[in-house]
Amino acid sequence: MCGIVGYAGYRESQPILLESLKRLEYRGYDSCGIAVSVNSALETAPTIEVHKDVGRVVDMEKNLPCVHGRVGIGHTRWATHGEVSPANAHPHLDCSGRIAVVHNGVIENFQSLRDELSREGHHFSSETDTEVIAHLIENYYSGDLEGAVARALAELVGTYAVIVMAAGHEELVVARRESPLIIGVGDKENFVASDVAAVLDYTGSVVYLEDGDIAVVSGESITITNNGDRVQRERQVIPWSVEEAQKGGYEHFMLKEIHEQPKAIENTLKGHISLIEPLIALDVVKDEGLEDVLIVACGTSWHAALIGEYVIGKLCHLPVRVKVASEFNHYDMAMDKTWVWGISQSGETLDTLRAIKKARALGCPTLAITNVPGSSITRIADQVFYTRSGPEIGVAATKTFMTQLVALYLLAMSFTSLDMMAYEGLIEGLRLLPSKVRQVLDEVGKIAQHARELSPYANVFFIGRGLNYPVAMEGALKLKEISYIHAEAYPAGELKHGPFALLGRTTPVVAITTKDDTYEPMLTSIKEIKARGPQVIALAEEGDEDIEQFVDAVIRLPQVDPLFSPFLNSVALQLLAYYTAKERGCPIDLPANLAKSVTVP
């Protein structure tokens, strides 16, 4: 899970590579590097100059000599093979130092290739899987770079997006298999990157490469082949502006995106609901004869799916199963009349893409729920529901999670068989959601106060029941990923089956209470916990006076139909995680070891 960039054109490549890499740091940033093809003034042969280091692009930039050259590649790394060190940072060179490679993905057979290449006399200077690609290309290279790359790639097992350059070549050779790669089309210059964010400053015109594509990219031309045949890939115009993806006054993208949630929910709902008619109108069609729904997703999207499972179960007569996408691939069960939904914010999550492909292979109709138009998932699923939350930059998903939930509620409600009165109530609930979420955001100061109390601890438990159990999981995930506090989520009733052993004065518990049939059992759980010493912070609705006597602190949330409580609880837990991380001085938008779009298996 790394970011790669390449440039070929008429301008100095170094500043363009650095700027593009900065826009990809959300994909990984433990180390970085660039290589530029240099035409020496002394008429000796052209060479490749490489600079790499551990840390962020800005840090590398400080000590970087100015290198002149109009072709170059760059990489920002998130380690998969080998520790974080300058040697393991990309680009990697072959033995001659004349071929440079950057790579995103995982080469599964790299060890055997490496052993073989070593026997043949190749000298390796890093522990990475990527370096084998450089040496393989060297083996086949005799002037025809594209041919050599094609032959080298044929030997690889695994996933890759690669950009290759060679001394004396004006062109880059790029290729992908199951890792994202795009070409930004400019004038007398072209850009290659893992994601459009890297090229938006320079061009809005983009070609998405597909699996198996090999492209030769120079300043003047782009030629793409797949399996040896010339192919045309359609150019797409990206509607997002550079400005749309910027921080706009907030200290972190995450905080900005948390505050954008009311607007994001409005956008997702736009055109789909009417309170006065009342009506839910979606373009998604359910095929006749489907008997159940299976949702596949990863990470935060998986938590959204788990909440969706409760909601669909409650509102529709449709059995629902939810599977973590990577597990689905090891999953065998009757799926004759199953509708498979895949949820992926980026639409590029490899595990989810594979799950959808598998479902299609099994003959199941598929529905993608995603935020990114034109992403891979939209091209393989039968139907698409766009969450329309706008670009999300912060690594911790916030507004995209919220709009995935809205999407699942809308879908559940459009297939419901409830009577009109109940239906109207639900539509009103949706309509009022943005306003209710704003109310939570108005109380930021109070939540920040509770975060201060939470920040010194090393372990935190989150508990919920019913449809707020997945909310507890999401709350724990948010806290883990940005504040580095170890957090566990449990269904409240499960604590007594083991985890009680861990409870004590140093393990605060965040308890989500809901005024439905889970309220009384939750109070019982809280009493049991209190008896063992932990501090308990409860999320409770306005006007719930009883809760005060059982807990140490209460985060108050507006009253809503319990069915909609996950929205408000999630926002409160996002804020709690954000301010805890801030109190601890963590790098919130770029947490250690995490990347936004997970495109490796």
């Binding site: 006054g249 409005e266 009103e428 306003s435």
Partner: protein
């Protein structure tokens, strides 16, 4: 000599007298016809070529910063300076000493002005106070002018000594910082400058200048802004709906059959209006609002995401964002005595409903009553007196 290119906007105040609206917002962020008051000030400056702005913020400063950010979206560059405690206008000005140009404007962020208002100050070379003729001068600082110079500023005079009032808008040279000392109010600084023979020129303006001090001022400002909107229709307007005069309807809004809308009126994005709703002049409806059938709205402000049930009548009233109002709600206009911060005022107006309050069916609110934020009122209640924030009427 080049014109002035920098302005300092005092935007730190809380606006105690504008409760309940200022419970969640600083005064300068109060929305008037869809935009915060402060935006009108910023736009007036930009139109005069003054594009570098220093904002002194304090109370709920994040809201100002979130909205205006770097100023890029408004064609200006904004620096923020925090005045942690609201210790008066002179104290606020003292905070920006290091950032001020040789010559600059000082404005209050809570006055609605237009480009013409400040145009005469842009080329002012000397210290100048912008003044304006007012009918009722009782709530302002009245100025005595002689030979084009300000001679005296008298706050809230008991007798009418002049029709000219201080707008609180000034062009200053840096020397003003030498007179700040530890004064609290800018007007005292002015007085001190006059006594110490530092000339303050008077410049009268005939442009718009209205300030928001009391809740009913909000309706006046709304009227003023609406009177200059240009009509534009978006969304869906169903057959049989009548839209007359200067009406602006946002994208995604649906106006159902038999609605009757007379401008000036502004309806935001993504609203559901009607069928059979009447909206009469000087009404603003925020984004995402729902107005159910057979309701009538006249000279009123309906905030974002407000929900209004069927057969309601709302006149000369302000419903703050997020309020939920069920059917047959009545807020009629009438003569009322309103108490604001311990003082009584005789006004003609309807009701004020705070943010996120929920009013059940058949609630009637008497003229001049203020219902705070987060209140809940059960069905069939007649509300004759103010309800504090979070109040519950059973």
């Amino acid at each position: 000599m080049e014109g002035i290119t920098q302005a300092i906007i005092l935007a730190a105040g809380e606006g105690q007298r504008l409760k309940p609206f200022t419970g969640l917002l600083p005064k300068v962020m109060l929305p008037i016809a869809g935009n915060p008051i402060l935006q009108y000030v910023v736009e007036a400056l930009a139109q005069n070529g003054i594009r570098r702005i220093v904002m002194v913020v304090g109370y709920k400063k994040e809201q100002v910063q979130d909205y205006f950010s770097s100023g890029q979206g408004f064609g200006v560059e904004i620096d923020y300076v925090v005045q942690p405690q609201q210790l008066g206008t002179a104290h606020a000005l003292r905070q920006v000493r290091d950032l001020a140009d040789d010559r600059f404007l000082v404005l209050a962020g809570d006055n609605v002005i237009d480009a013409n208002t400040i145009a005469p100050l842009v080329n002012a070379a000397a210290n100048t106070m912008l003044i304006k003729t007012q009918e009722d001068v009782s709530k302002y600082g009245v100025v005595l002018v002689h030979d084009g110079l300000i001679r005296e500023v008298i706050e809230k005079p008991a007798e009418k000594i002049s029709n000219l009032v201080n707008t609180g808008i000034y062009a200053f040279n840096r020397e003003v910082f030498d007179f700040l000392d530890d004064e609290v109010k800018l007007t005292s600084v002015i007085q001190r400058m006059i006594t110490m023979d530092c000339d303050i020129f008077a410049q009268e303006t005939d442009g718009t200048w209205l300030d928001a001090v009391y809740p009913w001022d909000i309706l006046k400002l709304n009227n003023l802004i609406l009177s200059r909107i240009s009509p534009s229709l978006g969304g869906t307007i169903e057959e049989g709906a009548v839209v007359k005069g200067a009406v602006s309807i946002g994208d995604g809004t649906i106006i159902r059959s038999n609605c009757y809308i007379v401008g000036p009126a502004l309806i935001g994005d993504d609203c559901e209006i009607g069928p059979s709703v009447c909206i009469f002049p000087s009404s603003s409806v925020g984004n995402g609002a729902v107005i159910s059938p057979f309701s009538i709205v006249r000279n009123a402000i309906i905030g974002n995401n407000v929900l209004i049930g069927p057969s309601s009548a709302i006149q000369d009233s302000i419903i703050a964002p997020g309020a939920i109002i069920r059917g047959r709600f009545t807020a009629r206009s009438g003569e009322a005595t309103m108490m604001i911060e311990g003082e009584y005022y005789q006004v003609k107006m309807g009701a004020i409903v705070g943010n996120y309050s929920e009013l059940a069916d058949n609630v009637i609110v008497a003229p001049g009553v203020i219902i705070g934020n987060h209140c809940r009122i059960k069905p069939m209640k007649v509300i004759g007196e103010n309800i504090p924030d979070g109040g519950l009427v059973i």
